[in-house]
Symmetry: C2
Subunit: 659 residues, 2 copies
Amino acid sequence: MSLSSEKSDIELDEKIKQQHRIDSLNILLYMLLLITTVLTIWMFKHRRMRYLHETGLALIFGLVVGALIRYTGDPSAITHVEVQAVPHSDYNESLPPDYLWFRMKRKMPPGEGSGPVENRTYAYLLTGEVEDATGNEFAQQATFDPEIFFNIVLPPIIFNAGYSLKRKFFFRNLGSILCFAFIGTTISAFAIGGVQYTFGLLFSSPPSLLDCLYFGALISATDPVTILAIFNDLQVDVNLYALVFGESVLNDAVAIVLVTAIENYAKLYATGSDGFEAIAFLKAIGLFFYVFFSSFLLGSVMGCATALLTKFTHIRDFPLLESSLFLLMSYSSFLMAEAADLTGIVAVLFCGICQAHYTYNNLSDEARVRTKDFFEMINFLAENFIFSYIGVSLFTFPKHQWDFAFISCAFVSLFIGRLLNVYPLSWLLNLKRRPVIPLNFQHMMFLSGLRGAIAFALAIRNTYSVGRQTILTATSIIVAVTVIYGGLTTQLLLWLGIPVGGEEDDETTGLNQLQRCRPRGQQNETGARDNPEKALLVRLWSDFDTSFMKPLLTHSRPTLLETMPLCCHPLARLLTSTQQLTQDTSNKYEEDGELCLEADEASFQHGDNGSVHSSGHQMAAVSDDGDLGTGSTAGYQRTPAPPVSTRVHLQGHGRGDSL
Amino acid sequence: MSLSSEKSDIELDEKIKQQHRIDSLNILLYMLLLITTVLTIWMFKHRRMRYLHETGLALIFGLVVGALIRYTGDPSAITHVEVQAVPHSDYNESLPPDYLWFRMKRKMPPGEGSGPVENRTYAYLLTGEVEDATGNEFAQQATFDPEIFFNIVLPPIIFNAGYSLKRKFFFRNLGSILCFAFIGTTISAFAIGGVQYTFGLLFSSPPSLLDCLYFGALISATDPVTILAIFNDLQVDVNLYALVFGESVLNDAVAIVLVTAIENYAKLYATGSDGFEAIAFLKAIGLFFYVFFSSFLLGSVMGCATALLTKFTHIRDFPLLESSLFLLMSYSSFLMAEAADLTGIVAVLFCGICQAHYTYNNLSDEARVRTKDFFEMINFLAENFIFSYIGVSLFTFPKHQWDFAFISCAFVSLFIGRLLNVYPLSWLLNLKRRPVIPLNFQHMMFLSGLRGAIAFALAIRNTYSVGRQTILTATSIIVAVTVIYGGLTTQLLLWLGIPVGGEEDDETTGLNQLQRCRPRGQQNETGARDNPEKALLVRLWSDFDTSFMKPLLTHSRPTLLETMPLCCHPLARLLTSTQQLTQDTSNKYEEDGELCLEADEASFQHGDNGSVHSSGHQMAAVSDDGDLGTGSTAGYQRTPAPPVSTRVHLQGHGRGDSL
């Protein structure tokens, strides 16, 4: 190897080190942003300031830093060269290739021209389309590969939502939640898409209908983070909490499947000949349900598989292995769904719910604390990272397309979409639902439709075409505006007369509120009994769950030996663990009766079981009996999370009425 | 937008989705590998099989899967096009540009030729050099960006090594450890580099001296994981444990700084004119110490800053915020060092030691458990991920260069390097050191020089040139062979007569062993007192630490008010927290006296403090008083980690002698 070639190796090393330095600086930037956010959050909490939520803080700090980078950075460090295929190239497809191989002559430094001229070939990877090949050379500073958001940052957020779901109230309001999530999100997506498209026609370069629908679907994923944190702080009514949380958890899943369905429709439409629109449409609907339910099934199966693994092995003797297995299985559910062309978000959400409902019972005490703490922390960091990133990237992401008409219109269409979602569906639901959703709850639901991490992650996932870049920019702006506005919620809650803040008298406020707000005088009864068919469905599932699923998947009593018919006893014996047979029946697991609406109130007050938690975890144990947590961002406060008392009250109230 | 353009957008979408699917499959592959590894580890532990360590398992599974992918995969899915600069390009540097802009004509599908021909420009990012531009088209399957290893996977492993360091025994053997780490690693690096270069000269295309030294430095980073796990299982002598662990922790740091120094030397040498070698050499040595101590300082300062933040704010009221801050500050120390052209590994290692020594005392009980569990789990997953990856990538990484002469020679030079490191230095140290390092300990140290994650991460960091690709291949092979061979250690320990396995009688075995094995009859005394100057240095630091550092950085007693001269009292009052003044002196923190060799034995048996841990964490508490853990991979077993009893014994023994 000649000296000069060694010299260029050293130069190349330098270049790589330079790149590494920039990478480190980028990550460091976000770490410092997060540190600032954490410290500011602490100060806000310490001084009881509530007018801005932590995600809003992360976003604002991000905006400031992004602007600094934008206007002080030196974009000239990044070089590019325009290239074309070599003349005799036989590449003949309409799509850009994955890699380019760039052969370049090494120019010798002056005075050393004696060595041979070396040809070296370098590989280059496709990153995206360049819109304006003359300008727009701003460096790709402080940005990450979008796949990182989708594959790394998003799954723990969604999983934690499922793992810390308040299952009792979720299932009690299941009908309404499903209605809002499925029908509401679809209404919202098409309303937004339609308005955007109609409005776009007024201009010279309208966005395509496909892009508009795509935008409508992804922006329909509401984000509960800000609202729920405030709900937690202010102890709002549990049913409102369940509705808002349940809707936003499920509507992420629905929105993402809608996005896929719209893409599929476009594909079917484009490849089929004209006149087959209807068939393409039906196929797309079929695909929607196929994708949703397959993902649901995959996630649930992975959750149940983890439950079986933890039940029938003694892996609980090694909590580290146990927790790792738990984490790996859960993450695999996401990846499997993505690899199988389903949606990982749906899979990991239902996997989280199954893990909480079954596997959690089989875990050792240490692994319970470990997994809960782990996901809580990862969730907290991931969320704040996304919001910091949204802030920074608004200034630094090189592929923004500032279409102000589109953005302004988006706010209007968002408003319309939310309007057509909440009020008509609430009216429909109130025809049958008891307790009805009072009007001020509807207002609150309307206003709590903030947009956040999911919408952004969906938008940044694909920015190869200009249309998608416009969508990303609009989404970023919408998220920024709604999240910062989210801080006003406290005022709105007060203004709408939704019960907040009471500690002890809350037990009556909630009840009074429900009765006072009821707009239709003729309904005097509350509780699940009013709605026999829905209660029946839930009770059927609950019975099946208690008799077969829990005995099969956990160490809980009764065992399958008691619930299965006599002929199946050999099988039942095989599926019953020794621990299950020998354990003291008084030592029942915490989660028992979670789905059973008539469960004894004591299941909420597992002080005896809660005490297996550390004294250091006492406050977690207080907020945890029955549920694993009190929402995605609660639980890092040392005082017991508020909804507990309200919850206990409401249940008592419901039963009192129905007896 | 024309229909055909919309159609190609859809095609592009499909392509992106395809890429995403492949990404998901790649990650899923590793998750499944890890799940298999976790379950197999559990089975091995359950059946008490010890002939293969978990990292060896991960590696073997990786190899199998890698081979499957290699010989069943379809590489044709990835397309590439050879390109050249457009004729009038003015790019004139000797290095490849960061981006290529590729302008291509969209070919219309047949039958739709009426639309305008569109030009689109795509950006491509540099990924590396292609050696053989005609063949070697094997797809970049199942591989990751090397930066991920260096920036994401490695830091938690190193941090955890520092955070769970047995500080007492580390500091007791500090002199020897530093000697092995600094002098030994340097000897090893130059010996290996020299042998490789000399051997290479026999062949037609010898590797460059720079590459040889680079290889020598990076392969000198020994990996303690396998050995220490076995040591933990078998309860070996604590001094041997401290020597092996301490050396391998520090020598990673030294090796990585050596790598930087060699790069710097090459750069200085290449840019200076001839005849200035000596100056370049001196400069490189200066840079070595500058980089090492600046990184050390940066890491320690970040650790102390975290201690101050946790001491003087009430952030401990919110354990989630507290743990997040802890994590973010620690990771920032790594990134800051990397961004400042220092070495993050050194920074994060010493940051970990400071966090354990100071910050840990200020944390809330919940945050202590949280951070310990968190890092333990991340460390476990990161390690096994790296070993899986090494296995898979041996078959799938597209840039391997199989230079069999180089690889065979590497094993010989490794042997020579380790030989010249352990035995001469032990002999030198034994001239002054008490207790001496007996010959069978030296054999064990010689044999425990396995290579692992650090060496691999260093090697894969830069594979742009062919020389570096050869180094990567050799490193992978060496790591694979030594890690799998590591399982034989149990047999070696028995064969060398190193005490293993005793539960109760271990207390005497350790002592007998030390006396029996002493090869030089004239030394009859043990304990630190024999070595007054070293003991003095350690005692000086210990006094300073107890009088100033701990009172300043933690809530421990005595306070600065008691230890600082009277004139400084206003300042001392400012730096003393209320909690520090008001707390009950009996409620001392666990870590007190950690560095103080004469500390009361009771400091090892903080059963009273240990009880603030959860009952679920009881076994952690048992193994934890005094230290945060029992090594990088211990602590996921429910039985108390073994070294505790030995440790307590040895301390008693040492003091008994010196009284």
